[in-house]
Symmetry: C2
Subunit: 239 residues, 2 copies
């Protein structure tokens, strides 16, 4: 089998530069959508429906039995929704067997931008190895798509892109400067991810809301062993 | 004096995210526009007029006495122009006292995108210290604007952004993830810039045209001591 070619897109605003019509796309929103998604699925959520806006979130929450609505803006639970976007807010006894209807600032928007790709995964440090193992078993080139912060490059999504590229080892190759840069940055940061990310803009933003422990959770590597796939409507664990 | 705030924009496609209406902007196109500009100015060119396209280049070349037209596409001198875009192609006996009319793929386009900033410099490793010293003497925040390659992130422009941020030392500060990332990457690469850049996409592209020595020249730090400023029409050494 030929090697898997890896590209990395640092911002949704740059997506038009990439042809991902035949790619597996991994969406990356470390702080915190894809980390929250990983945590909720690990704790037994049946599926997660990502939605663009709060109104749609409330509407679907009313329609779907056994569902929970969730979303934050500026670090606070949105009025009208039940829960926030904190990975630690979804323990098993609470989310098990339920459908989570989730709206986030950057992650959901990105997911909708790449929804026409042949396959879309949700990646985070929490399920790094599971995601890498799944990719190795496919025969598709990969686009690592960072959610960024309002289209601006961010460190945490980039570091995960570098980590995932490295986790693919000899199975992968790249001629993409963004991937090479992400991998070199990950080498610099990997011994103390949380410490490295403390200098980032998103850390400053979220720590104002008292979310340091949340971010520490998002930096835990391979805490879960689920791959998470988007089926065009919901995020699920493929059977 | 308060510290100079540094932002970095990795791609012209991301420029709309930045407000540089009160910033000093440094354009960066290491391979090779801003390096060529530095070399030609160091060798005594009176000024350099950057133009968007070949037709305009030829036209201005005919109008302006004592001028040279220059530009490359795909590593070759464009038909109708006199010289290429190689920093080593402009020795003193040849360019001294002349006006260089230059068209490049990415650098010229970027310059025109930022032309409304209060002040624009052309930066390269060749004139790193001169550029940093000039910035320190101003009282303006700074946007480091990478020309990139057809809007895609590239390693060489990013490394220079990191190098310039570091050269500003205590005079500068940042809350911009792109600047933090660039600085961390520069730490990784600085002991062997040329070696690091050998893994990049642009290196592969240009080395196909036999331009390795040209790229080595572009990686030489502080070879010149000119700051280069855009006066709205030409690149000049400010008096």
């Amino acid at each position: 089998m030929s090697k898997i070619d890896i590209s990395t897109c640092y911002s949704p605003a740059l997506l038009p530069l990439f042809d991902f019509s035949e790619c597996l796309v991994v969406i990356i929103d470390i702080f915190r959508a894809t980390s929250t998604i990983a945590a909720a699925m690990d704790n037994g959520a049946e599926k997660i429906i990502p939605v663009d806006n709060v109104e749609q979130c409330i509407e679907l929450g009313n329609e779907i039995p056994n569902s929970i609505t969730a979303g934050e803006r500026n670090g606070k639970v949105v009025e009208g929704l039940q829960y926030g976007n904190s990975p630690s807010a979804y323990p098993g006894d609470f989310v098990n067997g339920k459908t989570l209807v989730l709206t986030t600032t950057n992650g959901t928007r990105l997911l909708h931008l790449v929804k026409d790709a042949p396959e879309v995964l949700s990646g985070s440090f929490l399920n790094l190895k599971a995601t890498a193992d799944y990719i190795k078993a496919q025969n598709k080139n990969v686009l690592l798509a960072c959610a960024s912060w309002k289209d601006r490059f961010n460190l945490e999504d980039t570091l995960f892109a570098g980590a995932l590229y490295q986790a693919l080892g000899d199975a992968a190759t790249t001629i993409c400067d963004s991937t090479i840069g992400a991998s070199a940055l990950y080498d610099t940061a990997k011994d103390d991810l949380f410490g490295f990310l403390k200098q980032g803009s998103h850390f400053a933003r979220l720590s104002k809301y008292g979310l340091e422990e949340d971010m520490r959770y998002c930096c835990a590597i391979n805490k879960h062993d689920n791959v998470i796939r988007y089926d065009g409507q919901s995020l699920i664990i493929p059977s």
